[in-house]
């Protein structure tokens, strides 16, 4: 897609993140939408497409229409999409593009946000959520609940396959933390050294507390429209060059070998569709629910050879000023876990040259990756400054 009919990301919205008591999930999403629409130079009544994901922390249904009513908008295209971390965001964007192309709507907003930190049911401990993930029958009787243990199994397998260790995981955690310190809207505000990483308590071997992402309240949103309209508005113009997705399984009870996860296929298809490769990317926004997520993704997408992603992180190539700055906003590990919506918001911000003291100089192309569940659904999206 190019020329005057191309569809672009033209606005971004981000709420404060962290502990936001007293705010409901719909209030957070509404705030992000209003900010994104204003950022694009439009008003709420211009919105005729609305895509979202309901909060994971509270079971919900019809959350897109809930949000539409709350905002007072009456869209001609409205949908809730749920395929997991950051893949949801890029799948919303793909659906928004199709909806605009086919004439269902002209201005589509995609949003996710929830009060995952303060909105948990009373009496719930650890990371247990109300929502079912679908594999409970084959996980809970065996001592498995939630996401940490499944990722610990992946992390142990990766270490055993490649003889890698703590230093690789710590490198991802510290690089990401350094970036979060340049973001005024980040939950983590203290420096993290490799020693700090190693001193953090073990949760489920080999994963420590600092291998795990944050639990956060907050929301993010993006606005899509045709490029000519964005141009007239003087709005941002970031083109979506490719979105590709691959599902291989759902629950941890069906966890494949690392080599059989879907990220490599999703990445290869995205690069092929865009006519680009890893060498063409200026920055990376990789879903980082856990440090191991980043290591596996870097290798699957071809940014590092198998077993060498940790060395890439230690080399400085993933830091600001390096070849492929990683999660310049601080990611899920050190900014906030808003389901990856803020990875997309940050990529658009960077490609608009609008990232302030953490701006990646001359950034024109970004690779956004996501994975839902335990690499169950993998997605890759390539964005380019239009």
């Amino acid at each position: 897609m190019s020329g005057r009919d191309a569809i672009v990301l033209a606005g971004i919205g981000e709420t404060r993140v962290g502990k936001l008591p007293g705010l409901s999930s719909v209030e957070l999403q509404a705030e992000a939408v209003i900010r994104a629409v204003k950022d694009a130079g439009l008003a709420l009544h211009d919105v005729d497409g609305l895509l979202n994901l309901g909060p994971y922390v509270q079971p919900s249904s019809m959350f897109a229409t809930t949000l539409a009513e709350y905002l007072g908008v009456k869209p001609t295209y409205c949908a809730t999409i749920d395929v997991g971390g950051t893949v949801t965001g890029m799948t919303m964007i793909q659906n928004a593009i199709w909806a605009i192309e086919s004439g269902q709507c002209e201005v589509a907003v995609c949003t996710f946000g929830e009060n995952a930190l303060t909105g948990r049911a009373v009496g719930v401990q650890g990371l247990k959520m109300d929502n079912l993930l679908g594999g409970e029958e084959w996980e809970e009787p065996f001592g498995v609940q939630g996401m940490v243990i499944p990722y610990a199994l992946l992390a142990q397998a990766w270490r055993d396959e490649h003889g890698t260790g703590d230093a690789d995981f710590g490198a991802v955690a510290t690089v990401t933390r350094a970036h979060a310190l340049l973001n005024d809207n980040a939950q983590m505000t203290k420096t993290m050294t490799q020693e700090d990483y190693l001193a953090s308590r073990m949760i489920a071997t080999p994963l420590r507390l600092f291998d795990c992402s944050l639990v956060s309240d907050g929301a993010g949103a993006v606005v899509l429209m045709r490029a000519d309209r964005a141009r007239k508005l003087g709005a941002r113009q970031v083109a979506v060059r490719a979105v590709a997705q691959k599902t291989t399984h759902n629950s941890a009870a069906a966890l494949p070998d690392i080599a059989d996860l879907g990220m490599a296929e999703a990445g290869a298809r995205a690069f092929e569709a865009a006519g680009m490769g890893p060498e063409d990317m200026d920055m990376l926004a990789l879903h980082d629910a856990f440090t191991i997520s980043v290591l596996i993704t870097l290798e699957a997408l071809g940014f590092a050879r198998p077993g060498e992603a940790g060395a890439l992180a230690r080399s400085g190539d993933l830091s600001l000023g390096g070849r492929w700055p990683l999660n310049t906003h601080g990611g899920l590990l050190s900014q906030a876990h808003i389901g990856g919506m803020l990875h997309i918001v940050e990529a658009v911000r960077q490609l608009s040259g609008d990232a302030g003291k953490r701006q990646v100089e001359g950034a024109r192309r970004a690779l956004v990756s996501g994975n839902g569940g335990v690499f169950s659904v993998c997605g890759a999206m390539i964005l380019e400054a239009a």
């Binding site: 650890g126 594999g135 029958e137 498995v144 609940q145 142990q156 489920a204």
Partner: protein
């Protein structure tokens, strides 16, 4: 490491179909659905063969022998106070000799490594017997 008498876990909430898996376990058998059309075994059990969609499935006894693919020693409860008393415990991902992969829990040992041989053992948990694994050579 827990004594078997202390084991706790949330009980499964089976469907009419998957209840057969747990009923076999109560009798000390590890049985998986085998497709009559294509001979594929699968786990977790589903009403339809994930290879061909076939619904003619026969519950088939496994040897219970397996090889460890990955493992994690859990030091934090993800199920509130109920699981605190289980800590630390070991979760294992194993490949059965017959092929299918299972997520389960290790008992009878605190230590395990990728490639180790294990076999099924039916642990008493809240009045049911659950298919956990234990290292070859352990009781």
């Amino acid at each position: 490491m827990n004594d078997q008498a202390d084991l706790w876990a949330p009980m499964p909430h089976p469907t009419g179909f998957s209840a057969t898996f747990w009923d076999h376990a109560d009798k000390g058998e590890l049985a998986l659905p085998k497709c009559e059309a294509c001979d594929a075994l699968h786990y977790p059990p589903r009403r339809f063969c994930p290879e061909c969609g076939g619904d003619a499935l026969t519950w088939t006894a496994m040897s219970g022998r397996a090889t460890v693919v990955s493992h994690s020693t859990v030091l934090t409860s993800f199920h509130g106070q109920d699981w605190v008393g289980q800590l630390p415990y070991v979760v294992v991902l194993v490949d059965l000799d017959e092929g299918p992969r299972m997520l389960s829990r290790l008992v009878g040992s605190d230590t395990i490594a990728r490639g180790d041989r294990v076999h099924v053992t039916f642990a008493e948990v809240q009045g049911r017997r659950l298919p956990y694994f234990t290292p070859e050579g352990a009781a």
